[in-house]
Every structure is written in structure tokens, then in C-alpha cells.
């Protein structure tokens, strides 16, 4: 059974790229446009991993990570945040909220897969 990864990003092009890359690597992908949308889609989903952007309307990445860690089914799954080089503080904040790791934007598909492999095995 292939593993399910949720990608959360308000940029459609990033979402599309992440989703395409992951599907190509054999993962199942669930897409969400922001934190709130993501949380609403977690219910009843057996997620193996979440990749989330940090800057998003409605509920941002940090808020989403905190909310996910409070859910029993998401307590121990890897959550990777998409950050930019100029967001060192945000990165720390994300780590404290319970993020597993990060990917620095811009990134190439192979870098994305490398991080997924790193945290998901």
C-alpha cells in the first residue's frame, strides 16, 4: 500500500509541482490550500506525512503543525515545512511547534524526494 502525503500550499504551482513529484515517486497525495483546509481533510485520512508551506492565509504553517501534533493520529508522523532562506526564525518556530524538518525554497524535485525519503524511510 503506498504511503499518503499531504501537501499544503496556497501557491497552486508549488502544490502542483510537489504533488506531481510525489505521485511520480509512487506516493499518494492529498492537496490542501491552507492550514484550515488541511485540517478539514485530515479527518478520516490515514496520513503518513505532511509537507506544508509556512506563509498561508487563514491558518499558517505553524498553526497547522501545532494543530496536527495535537491529533492522536498525527502525533508522530513526519511534518516537513517549506521555508525560504530568509526565514531562519520561522524555521525555529516551526521546529518548536513540532515540525520534523524543512525544505528550503526554491527546491528541485529530487531535493524534495530526498527529504521525503529521509524522514519517511
Amino acid at each position: 500500500m503506498s504511503k499518503v502525503i499531504m501537501t499544503v500550499d496556497d501557491s497552486a504551482s508549488v502544490r502542483q509541482m510537489v504533488s506531481f513529484t510525489l505521485k511520480d515517486a509512487g506516493y499518494d497525495v492529498v492537496e490542501a490550500v491552507d492550514g484550515q483546509d488541511a485540517l478539514s481533510k485530515v479527518n478520516g485520512q490515514a496520513l503518513n506525512m505532511v509537507i506544508t508551506d509556512l506563509n498561508m492565509p487563514n491558518m499558517d504553517g505553524i498553526g497547522l503543525i501545532k494543530a496536527l501534533r495535537a491529533l492522536p493520529e498525527c502525533k508522530f508522523i513526519p511534518i516537513v515545512m517549506l521555508t525560504t532562506e530568509s526565514q531562519a526564525e520561522k524555521k525555529m518556530e516551526g521546529k518548536e511547534a513540532g515540525a520534523t524538518g524543512w525544505i528550503v525554497k526554491p527546491f528541485k524535485p529530487e531535493q524534495l524526494i530526498a527529504v521525503v525519503k529521509k524522514v519517511l524511510g
Partner: protein, 708 residues
């Protein structure tokens, strides 16, 4: 595929740019609105980030400066002004053009782009900006892991990884990290379970395990740190180099267990000392005294073991470590050393003639250095014969399968070194000899069993040094040679007279003659009537010799005696009339005088009594048809050839001479008794004599004379 993403990005960028324009116009009206500034920044940020991701590198590069300026605006370091808004609006136009990239008017665009970029950069360098600038130096996690620097050396690291208990709750699985380390190189990983509590106190969602890892890798420490990049702040991580992969004294063993524990900080040195007085093994002593835990001792032992193994492996590797150099360069070097040797001997001769002490000193120094240089250069050309040996394993395996025989090949002395050219020329003869052993020598399993031998036959291939020669032996425990059969065959082929008196050794050497083959059936392995004579020729060409010993039913041993090197030999310089010749010194035993009286005593026979032994001699003066008168006293140089003493008569023995062998041109190749030529110190040429061939030829000449 990527095109889809590009299209999606273009669409998105158009939206963003429209929004950006609106925001900028709003900002012009309310320049202090933080929210709008944030929107502008985010839009630029997204365009830059996504642009780079989908291959719009120009967009990304261009937007970078704009974004940077707005980051400053956000933090209040640059204020919003009309010129800034104007500039940003024109930047938007440029971005739009770049994204749609029609390919028209590019040069013109480039000028505008550059002008805008320059203006933004000017804002960044303006004096009002405080100096804590560099936003780009923050480490970018995964982007750096593409092409990590690679060490050629294998370095061994001790890694102590103690994740904080709450690590599971960050979605981290430590096992995956361990696996990543394994990808870097061979690892010994031992979990430290000391702090796992009893069931009553355990929190199942906490991590109580720590790991001690010994990793040997060619990658640097950063590659290891990269593995832990996400957990850096939530673990205790120590990485130490414990072995740098350099050459180490073979005597010095790796650290003692106690030292390792002290170094790791598990134990302090004083306590170690206190415990060391006991008799038991240090590990159990320490555990018994409760100073360190069993896990710590085991981790340290694992380290010791890992390094010991690594070092052992490395020593094996180092013995074969080498630089590859084209053979041609090496040949050139040898040639040049040869020339140098020639020049050096000329210098020695000159210095002797002038008898000037300081010149003699220099000449001697040069002589010493040249000899060393010669030996070193020759040793570079020396290769272990092992590589050749190992090729035969396959040969033996395939042949024995083909022939339905069971044969093992045992090799000895694979490390024996021989000149490269000798080794190359040795390959074919050796293949032939091994084939012979397998085909003719070793019997089929059922025959062997019937003879009370083990079903499996053995071919032994060995090499050893002996002075300036190398002995290579091929022996088998097969059927052995039957002297009667060989003799009969030789008679049949007309190689010997039917009543010839031959020793066993002589009979065996008959097999080396052209056109001799004892195999009763011709197989595709050997036995086409060519072979042993070809082997003999190759070995002769190498200035070597072949000897056979065999016992019927027990096996055959063939010994090849080969010179270490073929490029430079020590020779004896001799003279007949005014012509100089070189005799290879290796075969020469002694030089004695031959007076007219001695010759008269022998009654015309070419025999001399040397130390009570009658030694036949060859008068080279006659053989080479030198004119002129025979001097009163001549010299006999005696050599041992095929076990017999043979004398060679010359006018004068000049002295020892380091001889650089030059091969003769094609014209003179057929002259068998001359193996080459050399250039003497004074520029003269001397021919190098093949004593073995000379003796054979003299024998033939004598026979012809007798028949007449």
C-alpha cells in the same frame, strides 16, 4: 512534464503581479501600512521562489533584489517613497515580460533590467541602512547536499548520538538516521539502553535509547552532520575523528579499552588507574566496580574492533596501492638511466685517466648515485607476479572442466617481483606449461583413484627469489614423464640415434626440442607438436633456463630460472684483438690464464685443467674468425652452463661493466649467440654474448668437424 508546471506558474505569476500592482498603488496612498508592505513582500517572495523552482532563473535573480529591499521596508530600515513605488512598478513590468518571454527586444530589456537592478541595489547600500545585512547566509538545509566534497582517505568517526527523549513527537524515526549513516560507509552501531526504566516508570512515547556509532567513510564530517540536520537542536551529538586513514605503524595497535572510555568521557583517568591494578579484563573490572555501564564498555569494544578491522584492511590495501603510470614513460626513464650509466662509466674512465683526486671523488659520487638510481628505477619496473598467477585460476578451472578432471591450483610466492617485461613475456609460456600439466600430467579421477592417489589432482605454481634470479616452478602430482616413452618417441622422430646414451635429465630435455609431442591423442588443449619448444624459445629469449624433474606415477616439476631484470645486467668486459665483448656476469665462475704451454699439453684438444678439473673450452678468437696473432697468454672465462663447466677463451679480461642492454636491429636478430649490444663509456659498442648459445653452437661445430 515541467512545461505543465511552468504554465501553472505563469498563470499564478500573472495573478500575483496584478495583485502586486494594486498593492503598490494602495501603498503609494498609505505608505506606512504594514499589512500592504507585507503583501508586496510576500508576492515578490513567491515570484522569486516559484520562479527559481520552475526554471525562470532570470526572474528569480531579478526579483531577489526587489524582495531584499522590501524586506528592509518591512523592518522599517527603508521608507516607502514615490521613487521606490515607481521603480517597483517598472520592475513588475519587467517581470511580466520575462515570464511571457516572447524573445523579442531582449537586448533592450536587458539594459532596462540592469538599470532597475542597479537602482534597487543602490537603495540597499544607502547609508541609512544598518549594517546587519546578510540575509542570505542562513544555512539552506538540503540544497547543499548535492555534490559533497569527497575525501580520498577513509576516515573513521566516532559518533555519539543521544536524541532528546521527546524526539518521537517531532515525527523523527531515529532508525532512519542510522540507515542514512550506513549509506555513508561501514558502520558499527550499538544502542545504549542504560536509561530504559522499568515497566512501572516507562513512558512509551519517549526515546530512552542513545547510539554509539563507529563509521568509516570517505565523506567529510559535514556529510555526517547533514544526516542529523533536522535533529541538530534536539539531540546531543558528538562527532570525533578517531582514525584518519593515514599510514600507521604496523606495531602500534589501536587504543586500549580504558583509553577509549576516558576519551569518550565515560570514565575519568584517575578511576581508570585505580581499577587497572586488578587482574581481570579491564572491561569486566570496570563494570563490576560500577564505574561504567556494560553498554558503554561494549560500545567502546565495538570501536576497538571496528578500527582494528579497518586498519588491517587498509594495510592490505596499502601494499597494493599504486600510481598508474603509462609503461612508455617508465621505459623512457629506464632508457635514460641506461644512458646515464653509460655516461657515468665514461666519467669514471676519464677521471681515472686524469688521476685528479677531486675529479675522482666526484666520479665516485656519481657512480654511487647512478647505481642507486639504477636500482630504484629497476625496482619501479618490478611487479609482483601474483596478477599473472591469479589469471591461471580461471584457466585451471575451465580446463579441468573441459577434460573431466578435478584439479586445484595452489600458488605460492605471488608477491615475488619480476621486471615488468619479463612478466609480460612469461604469460604465454606459463599458460602452456600449466596446460601441459593439466592435459598430460594429471590423470582422470578414476585413474588416480585406481593408483591410490586422491581423485583431485594438484598443480602447484610457485615463485621465489634467488640472488639475481627468480625461480618459477610448475609442479603437478600427475602421471609423471616416462623416460622410455620419450626416448622411443625421440628415436622415432629422428631426434636422437637409437643407441644414444642419455641421462634421464637429457631425455626430459628432449621434450623441449622442436617437433616433439608425447600426447597419444591430440586434444584441443595441447599436443599439436608445437609447444614445449616454443616455451623453451620464450624462456631463452628471457635469458632464462628450463629444468625438468619427473618421477613416473608421482608427478613432474618444471623449474624456470629467470633473470630479475632484462634492461641492465652486470657484465664482464672481455677483449679479442681490439674488439670488446660483454659476458653476463651471473653465469661466470672464474677467470684463469691459458698459456701456450697449457695448450701444447692438451695435444690439440680444447681442454684445460682448472683446479684439477678438466674443462672444455671454446676459442672465441677462432669461432668469431678474428685475424691476427694469438697472444702469449690468453684468458679462460669459465661459466656454468646447464650444469657443466665451459670455458671461453679470450685475449684479455678488461673488467666488470654495468651493461645497459640495447636490442639489436632486425638485421642481426638471427645471430643466435649474440643477445644484444651495449654502448661503452668511451662510446664504443660491445656485443653481448649468449654463453649458452655459444656452447651449443660450439658443440654442433665440433660434431660436424668430427663427422668430417
Amino acid at each position: 512534464m515541467m512545461d505543465n508546471h511552468r504554465e501553472a506558474f505563469k498563470e499564478e505569476a500573472h495573478e500575483l503581479l496584478t495583485e502586486l500592482e494594486t498593492a503598490l498603488l494602495e501603498l503609494e496612498r498609505t505608505p506606512d501600512d504594514d499589512e500592504i508592505i507585507g503583501r508586496v513582500f510576500r508576492a515578490m517572495h513567491t515570484i522569486k521562489g516559484s520562479g527559481a523552482m520552475f526554471g525562470f532563473d532570470r526572474v528569480a535573480a531579478f526579483t531577489h533584489d526587489v524582495e531584499t529591499v522590501y524586506d528592509r521596508v518591512r523592518t522599517g530600515k527603508i521608507s516607502v517613497t514615490k521613487p521606490l513605488i515607481d521603480l517597483t512598478l517598472s520592475a513588475c513590468d519587467e517581470i511580466l515580460k520575462m515570464i511571457d518571454d516572447t524573445g523579442e527586444g531582449e537586448a533592450e530589456d536587458a539594459v532596462i533590467t540592469e538599470a532597475i537592478t542597479k537602482s534597487f541595489r543602490n537603495m540597499l547600500t544607502a547609508p541609512e541602512i544598518s549594517s546587519d545585512t546578510d540575509i542570505d547566509t542562513a544555512p539552506s538545509a538540503m540544497a547543499t547536499s548535492n555534490e559533497p566534497p569527497v575525501n580520498r582517505n577513509e576516515i573513521t568517526y566516532r559518533i555519539r548520538f543521544r536524541p532528546e527523549p521527546a524526539i518521537f513527537a517531532t515525527g523523527t524515526n531515529p532508525t532512519l538516521l542510522l540507515n542514512e549513516l550506513r549509506d555513508l560507509g561501514p558502520c558499527d552501531i550499538l544502542a545504549n539502553t542504560d536509561s530504559i526504566p522499568f515497566l512501572s516508570d516507562v513512558d512509551p512515547e519517549l526515546c530512552y535509547t542513545g547510539w554509539d556509532i563507529i563509521l568509516t567513510t570517505t565523506r567529510d564530517e559535514n556529510a555526517i552532520r547533514d544526516v542529523f540536520i533536522f535533529v541538530e537542536d534536539s539531540c546531543d551529538l558528538h562527532i570525533d575523528v578517531i582514525d584518519e586513514g593515514r599510514m600507521i605503524d604496523s606495531e602500534s595497535d589501536y587504543k586500549k579499552l580504558g583509553e577509549i572510555l576516558v576519551e569518550r568521557g565515560d570514565l575519568d583517568a584517575d578511576k581508570l588507574k585505580a581499577v587497572l591494578d586488578g587482574q581481570k579484563r579491564i572491561g569486566s573490572l570496570l563494570v563490576d566496580s560500577g564505574i561504567v555501564s556494560d553498554d558503554q564498555v561494549q560500545a567502546a569494544l565495538a570501536e576497538q574492533q571496528h578500527i582494528r578491522e579497518k586498519r588491517q584492511k587498509r594495510q592490505i590495501l596499502e601494499t597494493t596501492a599504486s600510481i598508474r603510470v603509462p609503461a612508455e614513460r617508465l621505459d623512457n626513464l629506464v632508457n635514460m638511466v641506461g644512458e646515464l650509466v653509460t655516461v657515468q662509466s665514461r666519467l669514471s674512465q676519464l677521471s681515472a685517466r686524469f688521476n685528479d683526486l677531486s675529479l675522482i671523488q666526484v666520479a665516485e659520487e656519481v657512480e654511487r648515485l647512478t647505481a642507486e638510481l639504477r636500482d630504484n628505477t629497476m625496482s619501479i619496473r618490478m611487479l609482483p607476479i601474483g596478477a599473472t598467477f591469479s589469471r591461471f585460476e580461471r584457466l585451471v578451472r575451465d580446463l579441468s572442466m573441459d577434460l573431466g578432471k578435478e584439479i586445484t591450483l595452489i600458488t605460492e610466492g605471488a608477491e615475488t617481483e619480476l621486471d615488468k617485461t619479463v612478466i609480460e613475456k612469461l604469460n604465454d609460456p606459463l599458460i602452456h606449461l600449466i596446460r601441459n600439466s593439466i592435459d598430460h600430467g594429471i590423470e582422470k579421477p578414476e585413474v588416480r583413484m585406481a593408483a591410490g592417489k586422491p581423485a583431485q589432482g594438484t598443480v602447484n605454481l610457485s615463485a621465489e627469489h634467488s640472488g639475481a634470479s627468480v625461480f618459477i616452478r610448475i609442479s603437478d602430482d600427475g602421471a609423471g614423464l616416462d623416460p622410455e616413452v620419450i626416448r622411443a618417441k625421440a628415436v622415432e622422430k629422428g631426434l636422437i640415434a637409437s643407441d644414444a646414451m642419455l641421462t634421464e635429465k637429457e631425455i626430459y630435455s628432449l621434450t623441449l626440442m622442436p617437433g616433439f609431442s608425447t600426447a597419444t591423442t591430440i586434444t584441443n588443449v595441447s599436443g599439436r607438436g608445437v609447444g614445449m619448444d616454443v616455451v623453451k624459445k620464450s624462456i631463452d629469449a628471457l635469458q632464462g633456463s628450463i629444468e625438468m624433474v619427473s618421477k613416473k606415477g608421482v608427478g613432474t616439476t618444471i623449474t624456470l630460472k629467470l633473470p630479475l631484470t632484462m634492461a641492465i645486467i652486470d657484465g664482464l668486459l672481455v677483449q679479442i684483438e681490439d674488439v670488446l665483448y660483454i659476458m653476463p656476469l651471473a653465469a661466470i665462475e672464474e677467470c684463469v690464464e691459458l698459456t701456450r704451454e697449457d695448450v701444447a699439453h692438451a695435444h690439440g684438444k680444447h681442454m684445460a685443467s682448472i683446479r684439477g678439473e678438466i674443462v672444455p673450452y671454446i676459442r672465441l678468437r677462432e669461432m668469431f674468425a678474428h685475424g691476427g696473432a694469438t697472444p702469449e697468454i690468453e684468458q679462460i672465462v669459465t661459466a656454468r652452463i646447464d650444469g657443466n663447466r665451459v670455458g671461453f677463451v679470450v685475449d684479455q679480461v678488461v673488467g666488470q661493466h654495468q651493461t645497459v642492454i640495447k636490442s639489436m636491429s632486425r638485421m642481426y636478430r638471427d645471430i643466435e649467440h649474440i643477445s644484444g649490444a651495449t654502448i661503452l663509456g668511451d662510446g664504443n659498442v660491445a656485443l653481448i654474448l649468449d654463453l649458452c648459445k655459444l656452447a651449443q653452437q660450439a658443440e654442433i661445430l665440433e660434431k660436424q668437424a668430427n663427422q668430417e
